[in-house]
């Protein structure tokens, strides 16, 4: 939420204090060797921050970060020697060019995830490593393409930071700026979108998030940050060497970020310190710096196996003694849905016409047609009947081989999943898809992030939806701390914001007690009066269906076997047979 944009958390305050300490005190007390080590540590902290947010916020493993840093450094040096522009101009150009590189890298990433994404970024890092070896770093020499070795070249530094001590201050300031940039993105639309993408791409699309766009933004940001870091490193050393930007270093930085704790600024700083300071210390003590690999490796194994939040997570657990004062859980009997109204408030209809879906040799849906005009319709059928597949066709996740779905004569087929959400399609999933990184209010807010409304209107709308489902007291609670019922309620709230036209609920009562199911039923009954939207409900709880839905479609093995008023459908012998197995039980 916008009001929280400038809110300083305690951890954030500690981070700023640390930056101030590194900026003001450290340059006064250390010698020139350590000045250079700390400057490079700050540069790598900045680069690692890019890897860290990708991993912690989007769940994407990017192994190209140090390669991107190299791109930034390369451009920086070339510009420096070729044109003699001021340092800042070069730095900005270098970061922008690296950002474009990052976006190119995003192209394959849009179709890949998990291990394959990590591997393709590793391939990119391997490629960059060799390209650096071919188109060498300049280190002096004339013109843009000049290369010269064996002399210490002149590297322009910012006017305000010519000495080594001043340059360390400068680097710390820029690094802090980079951290704040990432934090800002996290608190705005991109952050909410990333959290949903991390949870599930399907849920993100259903919430109206343009997954392609926000993934590209993430890669662009990581590229920008990497380029900035590379440019700063170039300014510190004046010359760079391809060996600094090997693919193995990219892997190492990622690994150390995991060790440090990718979710926290402290974790990123620890990662950079391990990467740059530990080898320097070992060198100082006359120990073979190769041993630092052993420390890194052991740290990585330790972190992966026992400490999912890294060293920083463990430190924070000790420092902040869980001030646990959880708000009481939502009591279903306290939820008072407004007077139940099922009267139709509009004449709109949903037309499902000849939908056919095939997965390999399985005909998941065969010629499903129905015309639903009632405010709340149900879809029932045994497990594997194709109910959820039908919803996925509605959402645009699964393509139908023939047929169409239209609402009020508007054919949904031409829209991508997130466009359908903008049009007014809402859905919940069997497994409730609530992002654990966001608060309840933010989880609901994601759904209307793309609509053209003022921030205040959006806020009011979220508050209204939460009030409707009785979750007002939980608005600030993190998604991770909700119980199943509260997650289901949040799902409902998410479905009713932003002028929905069709709301699909996939087994919303799954895992709920009888009282909870009743409260949920009340809420569902009130949705049409509240929003004017159609509701499509899949559930195995026949009592709930009978109570809530005016008409019901029954699917068995992908074929519609009955459709009509709910009570008539439920007493149909064919339906009973489909549910109970054989005719004998169907009396």
């Amino acid at each position: 939420m916008n009001t929280h944009l400038f809110h300083v958390t305690r951890s954030g305050a500690a981070g700023l204090l640390f930056a101030a300490f590194a900026c003001l005190i450290v340059p006064l007390v250390v010698g020139s060797f350590w000045l250079s080590v700390f400057t490079s540590t700050a540069c790598f902290a900045l680069a690692a921050a890019g890897t860290a947010f990708m991993y912690a916020r989007l769940g994407m493993v990017s192994l190209t970060q140090v390669g991107l840093m190299g791109v930034g450094g390369w451009v920086m040096l070339r510009l420096n020697y070729a044109y003699g522009l001021p340092f800042e101009v070069n730095l900005i150009l270098a970061s922008l060019i690296t950002m474009i590189f990052g976006m190119i890298l995003a192209l394959p990433a849009l179709r890949l995830r998990g291990l394959y994404l990590a591997l393709v970024t590793l391939m990119a890092a391997g490629g960059l490593e060799i390209i650096f070896a071919t188109f060498q770093f300049p280190n002096g020499g004339g013109g843009f393409w000049g290369v010269e070795t064996g002399r210490t070249p002149f590297m322009a530094r910012p006017i305000v930071a010519v000495s080594d001590a001043a340059y360390l201050r400068y680097t710390v300031c820029v690094t802090t700026f980079g951290f704040l940039l990432i934090e800002m993105a996290r608190r705005l639309n991109p952050g909410r979108a990333w959290a949903m993408i991390r949870r599930s791409e399907a849920a993100a699309m259903a919430a109206g998030i343009n997954v392609t766009l926000y993934k590209t933004i993430a890669f662009a940001l990581a590229g920008l940050i990497g380029g900035l870091a590379g440019g700063l490193l170039a300014g510190s050393l004046g010359l760079l060497d391809g060996g600094t930007f090997r693919a193995s270093e990219s892997i190492m930085v990622f690994a150390l970020t995991v060790v440090g704790g990718a979710r926290y600024w402290l974790g990123v700083v620890i990662a950079a310190a391990l990467f740059r300071i530990v080898p320097a210390l070992l060198n100082n003590w006359g120990v073979d710096a190769d041993l630092s690999f052993v420390i890194f490796g052991a740290g990585l194994l330790h972190a992966v196996i026992t400490a999912p939040n890294g060293i920083a997570g463990q430190v924070l657990d000790v420092v902040t003694k869980k001030a646990a004062k959880p708000t009481p859980s939502i009591d279903p009997s306290q939820i008072s849905a407004p007077t139940v109204q099922t009267a139709k408030t509009s004449d709109s209809t949903i037309e499902i016409d000849g939908i056919k879906v095939q997965f390999g040799g399985v005909l998941a849906l065969n010629n499903v047609s129905a015309c639903m005009a009632e405010p709340i319709s149900g879809i029932i059928g045994p497990n594997g009947a194709g109910k959820t597949t039908l919803m996925n066709v509605f959402s645009g996740f699964v393509a139908s081989k023939s047929g169409s779905i239209s609402v009020d004569g508007f054919d949904l087929g031409s829209l991508s999943p997130h466009q359908r959400s903008e049009w007014g399609l809402r859905r919940s999933f069997q497994k409730e898809e609530i992002s654990e990184d966001l608060t309840v209010a933010e989880n609901v807010r994601v759904q209307i992030d793309t609509t053209r409304q003022s921030a205040a209107d959006k806020k009011a709308e979220v508050a209204r939806a939460l009030a409707y489902v009785g979750m007002t007291t939980k608005a600030r609670t993190s998604g991770a701390d909700l119980n199943t019922f509260e997650r289901r309620l949040t799902d409902i709230a998410k479905c009713i914001v932003g002028a929905p036209k069709l709301i699909m609920l996939d087994e919303p009562a799954g895992g709920l007690s009888i009282q909870e199911t009743n409260a949920l039923g009340d809420l569902i009954l009130g949705i049409h009066a509240q929003t004017g939207a159609h509701v499509l409900l899949i559930d195995h709880d026949v009592d709930l269906i009978a109570r809530v839905c005016s008409q019901t479609l029954v699917i068995d093995f992908g074929v519609p076997i009955a459709f009509g008023p709910t009570h008539a459908v439920l007493s149909d012998p064919k339906v009973k047979a489909a549910y109970l197995g054989t005719e004998e039980f169907a009396s």
Binding site: V61, P108, L110, R111, L112, R113, G114, L115, Y116, A118, L119, V120, L122, M123, A124, G126, G127, I130, I131, A133, T134, R199, S200, E201, A202, M205, V211, R246, A247, S248, I251, M252, F254, A255, V258, D288, D290, L291, S292, F293, V294, I295, F296, G297, A298, G299, L300, L301, V304, I305, F397, P417
Partner: protein, 318 residues
């Protein structure tokens, strides 16, 4: 499905022919043959590394980034024993043995702790192990130019007018034999059947009583042996340096990607093609410098080609 395979094969043949024609145009056939053969040898190494990775990944779900490091430890041990004038066959075998022990150590003691985590996490953990081995190996054998020679380097065979060393023949032959051998093993033995079942669905296999621990141990053993052999051959044919051999795992991954981390024959074809293209690129004055990019570029393209038309919607599997 069949049509897809046909398209892939046609595309591959066209691309390979085109590349070879483009790069080899106007060069004497002898030169071309020379680069082709040396490319096949390098490609076999990529393929061998890739096969080791895929065999293990299929059976255990672990993409073992420490394979290269295990190979490096093996190759360095072999070199050390050779320095101590130990009977050569023992030195060579020690390479395989050391890699095998390292692989088994991880497979039996560390991997089970991560059995239920996602593939990326498992891969990242093996990276930690790789770093430990690399650190220790580089600590024991400080940077020095070393070389490892096998007696087969000196024996040459004339093939179509070209002299080919027996070492290269061994590497090439082993990679093909391994693919056929493992294919037969998976197809005709009980353990092979169980491995395929594990690769298909771990949870279900556990439920129907597949002895997971035993099958996995065999997979770790197999991949350890392959890693040791590959490390030894790499040390002989290319360079004996721990860091280089350790990160040879990156082009091996490229080869493994060509087989979608699944099909050994495709890994072999992919690895060999990468080696050949990389080697032939030497003929082009323009692309000579970026020659080692070839495996990465090829793998990235192949991955994109495989993923075309795929849409990412649902969570879970990669």
């Amino acid at each position: 499905m069949a049509r897809n395979t046909l398209i892939n094969v046609a595309l591959y043949v066209c691309a390979m022919t085109l590349i070879i024609l483009l790069l080899g145009w106007g060069k004497p056939s002898k030169v071309l043959g020379l680069f082709f053969v040396s490319g096949l040898a390098v490609g076999s190494l990529y393929a061998l590394g890739g096969i080791g990775l895929v065999v293990l990944y299929r059976a255990t779900g672990v993409l073992n980034l420490a394979n290269g490091a295990a190979g490096a430890a093996g190759a360095m041990t072999a070199w050390q024993l050779a320095q101590w004038q130990i009977w050569p066959p023992i030195a060579w075998l020690s390479s395989i043995l050391v890699a095998l022990l390292i692989s088994l150590f991880y497979g039996r003691l560390i991997a089970p702790l991560l059995a239920w985590r996602e593939p990326v996490v498992k891969a990242v953990a093996t990276l930690g192990f790789a770093l430990i081995i690399l650190g220790l190996v580089s600590f024991i054998w400080v940077d020095d130019p070393r070389s490892l020679t096998l007696p087969t380097d000196k024996i040459g065979v004339r093939l179509l007018g070209l002299r080919v060393t027996v070492t290269r023949l061994i590497v090439f032959g082993t990679s093909i034999a391994l693919v056929i051998g493992i294919w037969a093993y998976l197809k005709y033995t009980a353990i092979g059947l169980q491995m395929r079942s594990l690769a298909n669905d771990r949870d279900l296999s556990a439920l129907i009583g597949i002895p997971i621990l035993r099958v996995e141990t065999i997979a770790w053993t197999l991949s350890g042996v392959i890693a040791g052999f590959t490390g030894l051959m790499f040390g002989d044919l290319i360079r004996l340096e721990p860091t280089v051999i350790t990160f040879m795992v990156i082009p091996s991954i490229a080869a493994a990607i060509c087989g979608r981390l699944e099909h050994l024959s495709l890994v072999l074809i992919g690895g060999l093609s990468m080696g050949v293209i990389e080697s032939l690129l030497t003929l082009s004055p323009l692309l000579k410098g970026v020659r080692p990019v070839a495996p990465f570029a090829i793998a990235a393209l192949v991955l994109l080609w495989y993923q075309r038309g795929n849409r990412l919607t649902f969570g879970g599997g990669d």
